[in-house]
Symmetry: C2
Subunit: 396 residues, 2 copies
Amino acid sequence: MRDVAVIGVGMIPFGRRDEDSLMEMLAYASLKALDDAGLGDKSVDAVYVGNMGSGMLQHQSAIASSLVDRLSLLPAPADTVENGPASGGSAVKNGLLAVASGYYDTVLVVGGEKMREVTGWRATDFVATMTHPLAEYVYGITLPGMAGMFTRLYMEKYGVTREHLVAVSIKNQEMGGRNPYAHVEMAITKEGIFDDPAAVVNNPVIADPLHLYDACPVSDGAAALILFPLEKIKNPVKPPVVIAGFGQATDTHTLQEREDPTDLKAVTLAAQQALEMAKLKPSDIHVAELHDAFTILEIAESEHIGFFKKGEGGKAALAGKTAFGGTIPINLSGGLKARGHPVGATGVAQVVDIVFQLRHELPKDRQVKNAQNGLTVNFGGFGNNVLSFVLRRVQQ
Amino acid sequence: MRDVAVIGVGMIPFGRRDEDSLMEMLAYASLKALDDAGLGDKSVDAVYVGNMGSGMLQHQSAIASSLVDRLSLLPAPADTVENGPASGGSAVKNGLLAVASGYYDTVLVVGGEKMREVTGWRATDFVATMTHPLAEYVYGITLPGMAGMFTRLYMEKYGVTREHLVAVSIKNQEMGGRNPYAHVEMAITKEGIFDDPAAVVNNPVIADPLHLYDACPVSDGAAALILFPLEKIKNPVKPPVVIAGFGQATDTHTLQEREDPTDLKAVTLAAQQALEMAKLKPSDIHVAELHDAFTILEIAESEHIGFFKKGEGGKAALAGKTAFGGTIPINLSGGLKARGHPVGATGVAQVVDIVFQLRHELPKDRQVKNAQNGLTVNFGGFGNNVLSFVLRRVQQ
């Protein structure tokens, strides 16, 4: 298996993009990545699109080949990859293996979602299509509902407190304010949440014990990257970053079948596989983008990856260890919580944000100094399909 | 890139399967393929599901990871691949490249669709989600409509006649009667179609000049295969068949942008790539499964692949050259026309049918004697995304 590098990245601001179609968002992000890679008007060998809902939300299928036409990349072959909210990660994975196989050299991977096509209960219902149709969906369980129950169990077993959750929320919304691509740019404070009567109204319980500020927004957005074999890079435009490790695992579809519902086995396995392939330990990681669709998930994932022992993740967040300048900075992009979570885009955007970090090209208020290794976790279902990537800056 | 073999195949009868869920169909086909490969209760390294419409038709996403749980293959990673009616082919492609990369050894690829969930105009509308949303779909064009206009142009340019189309229809429905997995088993005759008043009523014009018997049915079904590196096969249960060649190409999304709408460029390119990779010529192919969603497509594809010169495909079909016992037998499974076309299943089913042929395990009334090389074409959109595979029996 040959080494595969990310030679170009592109992202568009996440948020409400009522004026843009899904196809336009995918095209904008792709063009930025092609430009960033210095490909000019050169074509690519293949295209992978990560998307969860074009059929359900836009009543459109086969969007990958449509994008190829839209970008004048004909006759490049193209496939759409779907894996619930891990669709972006699965698209990166298949682009990675395709280049690793030697069959393709230059591959465009783009993830995108136009989720604000639906709002309110319909957005929640769209995401709930990944629950078990007979054992979960029919009973009306939603993802916020699952996350609420998970949080309660996690609090009881590991002593996570509401202060821990709020620490994640404050950190990620502050970082969102520093990220031009982020959906949520509104900084919040602990005092504001606990003492300000307005914040109590604006931050209601959505699924006890989770409040509104514990959840990611419903966003539109797209992110793209260009993969290329490391051995063939001659004169890189930007410092090449290699995908040094990759892992993916599946857990039971229903939560009720898990012996310990607080044990996110697929996260542990995916991260372990990715780290082992990269020959790195959790302590070798300098920056991480985790799947904080709910604040509890950032805490739980940070423990399952091995950044902290079980029960220590919440305290670490409160102590600032996962903040900018901390020992293992997490979600300096703002994460799903603030960058936003257009589901098909997320797994690609996480890799793009790590590439920004490892190229050392971010502004000072977001750049981890001398970052060499980064890690992502993209979490589908309620942890029943999880992907993890380890990226490494190539020493030149 | 290492050679990848098909070491197990499985298919369930296509047709109306009102009693089975999509998940059950995928599981049945997968279990048959796992059993055929002699894997017993061993797991697999990864799973790929080809499916176009689980979101739109079953309101369900991330079905690949759900299938892994259903089959007790945890924690095997899994992705769904979508590419309109070429979703099955795209799933085979990504499984192929994943094994070729060396990252995985044993990969299950399964394609399936439960299309009869919707009937009448809703089934036609579902397939029309692959047309261009602004330039085609809004004007009410359907796939049968496109195929009708294509047929008219092809008739005018190349002299294809209704007798040629009927010859394909008769051949494929006869072969469907010999295939236990086929949806349509009803043999028809030329006299029946042209002279029998009942047949004229039963075979109305659906999109001039196409009649009902020129079109594939709306089917439920699933097909599966197991991929494995050729170099690691020790004691094969069945004669191994290698995927010797693979090609894929994209054409303009809208038909109106094609200089010559009768020129199916993506078919030509995909087949050329597959044949070149396998180091074979069209005349080296002993049996083919083509994408005859409409009879005209079998004729057009047989020319674009290079089995016949342009304008000769229809005459060849009428002369029996593409029939069982002919010089290049096409769609001995009955094709989409008679086996049926559960969209996500088709690209996988085509490869499965070629494997049956190259293993020499079919009954005498369908087995091409001593077949060594086979080819498939899986056609998405109206030829805007096309995949082709060349398979070869491994000499032992």
